[in-house]
């Protein structure tokens, strides 16, 4: 956009490596200089990671976290998309229901934990409910926005060709709104990943979030703590990337500008 020449191809690898390398070095040396006995240095984190992988604990935790996300997010999508489409299609209904959503939205899913525990007990179901709750609203909102942003040209064309309202919704409005719905789903997936980690720190005893807390509680293994944190980041990133591949499908790609 601005500075000097167009960056060359090799620079795409050079700069990130440089920055990350410098950061790692900074981390490593500040651990040494502050002579902290507890906070791990990069090599220690690496060893901790290897240890986790070797003891097979890790895979079970990853699986558990992912499983909860799939159930919670899946349920949120299955319920949220039809609801969002309906609310977007009938603005009158939206006008009635929206205030309730606005009030419920700022309440962190974590704050629902006590209530969730009452209904579901401590364990898996409670965390899945929390994930569902956290992903639900972004999905609904994205669907509402997607539907109301469909250019009126498309709707008029649909009516012109003799489509009944249900046909219009299915064959014109839904495909037209799909890019925006996908973005909403991707964001909700990111939120689901955040919520699962938090929920596992409080209400369950397996999963990556639990691993973080447990590593500290049973032995102050901060090298495992940091290893787990980094893993959480990497897996979350993979989920996000995977979803972005969906956005490349041709019948949807038209809705996305060239994103990074």
């Amino acid at each position: 956009m601005n500075s000097l020449a167009e960056p060359r191809k090799w620079e795409r690898f050079f700069w990130p490596l440089l920055a990350s390398g410098l950061l790692l070095a900074l981390w490593h040396f500040s651990v040494i200089w502050t002579a902290t006995k507890v906070f791990p240095s990069p090599p220690e984190v690496e060893k901790g990671l290897a240890e986790l992988l070797r003891h097979h604990v890790l895979w079970g935790d990853i699986r558990d976290s992912l499983r909860r996300v799939v159930y919670g997010f899946g349920a949120a999508a299955l319920l949220g998309i039809p609801l969002g489409l309906t609310l977007g299609w009938y603005p009158a209904v939206n006008q009635v229901v929206n205030p309730v959503m606005q009030i419920l939205r700022p309440i962190s899913p974590i704050a629902w934990i006590p209530v969730a525990i009452i209904f579901f007990g401590v364990g898996d179901k409670a965390s899945i409910f929390l994930i569902f709750f956290g992903s639900f609203f972004p999905i609904v909102v994205a669907c509402i926005n997607g539907v109301s942003n469909v250019p009126s040209v498309y709707r008029r064309s649909g009516r012109n060709f003799g489509l009944t309202p249900p046909q219009l919704l299915a064959r014109v409005v839904f495909p037209a709104a799909l890019p925006q719905i996908l973005v909403g789903l991707r964001i909700a997936l990111g939120i689901a990943w955040l919520v699962v980690v938090a929920a596992e720190m409080i209400a369950v005893d397996s999963g990556l979030g639990y691993l973080v807390i447990d590593s500290r509680n049973s032995g102050k293994r901060y090298d495992l703590v940091v290893a787990a944190i980094l893993l959480i980041g990497v897996i979350g990133l993979i989920l996000d990337f995977g979803f972005r591949r969906l956005e490349k499908i041709r019948s949807v790609r038209w809705g996305f500008r060239n994103e990074f």
Binding site: R156, N160, P175, S251, W254
Partner: protein, 262 residues
């Protein structure tokens, strides 16, 4: 005895669309804006009529009313002696290229309105119209991959595929560069001569109107009334440097008040 010379008189053309004393007023926030006033027009079956006027004068509003997307505040519009009260697949509206559906391929778009046909029939129609508008080779392409002119042709093909009686075109070539526009005008006429639909075409380009239409309806600025209806009696293909063409065109120029030098 001399043979009786039969005078072959063409039967009086059937009226397809009739607009009677139509007026349109928009109300917003308590203010009423009259947009159309006392529009009277009869369009014959198979005719090519242009609505010509400056931008924002209300010709698009009139077109929308004719196609059934708007109800006139006063007066009535009839097609085939039936009142128009909503959009209908027999009267297809063609927008500027942005009306094509970007999530469907070229084939998908053209086949969009054909959901009542069998698969074989549908494919047949699609192939026919792809050839007619010259989009062979792009059947599986998506609209974002097409140029402006191609998208416009796609939209026309989609409209024609459902075999409507009437086509309404709202400045369809407005977004194209002037060379493509010339080409597209020729294409449109070619298609029209192959399948004689009744066409109502809105434009603000005087040359375009005189090149294409059988009759040009010259409209005033808002609130729009019909200033004049000019009969273009030159047969196609029209030579745009012929005297008659220039005469007609300059007549309209003067009517609109643009007879000045730059």
């Amino acid at each position: 005895m001399a043979l009786l010379k039969e005078s072959v008189v063409a039967p009086a053309p059937k009226t397809k669309l009739s607009v009677e004393k139509v007026g349109m007023t928009f109300k917003r926030d308590g203010k009423s804006t009259p947009v159309l006033e006392n529009i009277n027009l009869e369009v014959a079956d198979g005719e090519f009529v242009c609505l010509l006027g400056p931008s924002g004068c209300g010709k698009t509003t009139l077109l929308n009313a004719m196609a059934g997307f708007l109800s006139p505040t006063s007066g009535r519009i009839q097609v085939d002696n039936e009142a128009v009260n909503g959009p209908d697949p027999r009267r297809i509206f063609v927008f500027q290229e942005r009306g094509v559906f970007p999530w469907l391929t070229v084939e998908g778009n053209i086949g969009f309105g054909l959901f009542k046909l069998s698969r074989a029939e549908r494919q047949q129609r699609i192939d026919h119209y792809i050839k007619m508008v010259g989009l062979q080779g792009f059947e599986k392409a998506y609209p974002p991959e097409l140029s402006g002119g191609m998208k416009q042709r796609l939209e026309v093909a989609r409209a024609l595929a459902v075999n409507p009686d009437m086509l309404f075109l709202d400045e369809p070539f407005g977004a194209l560069d002037s060379i493509t526009r010339l080409v597209m005008r020729g294409e449109l006429l070619r298609i029209w001569e192959a399948e004689r639909k009744t066409i109502i075409f809105v434009t603000h380009d005087i040359d375009e109107a005189v090149q294409l239409a059988d009759r040009v309806v010259v409209m005033s600025a808002r609130p729009a009334t019909i200033q004049q209806i000019v009969n273009i009696d030159i047969p196609h293909p029209r030579d745009i440097s012929s005297t008659r063409y220039l005469e007609l065109r300059d007549g309209i120029f003067k009517q609109i008040g643009l007879a000045h030098k730059i």
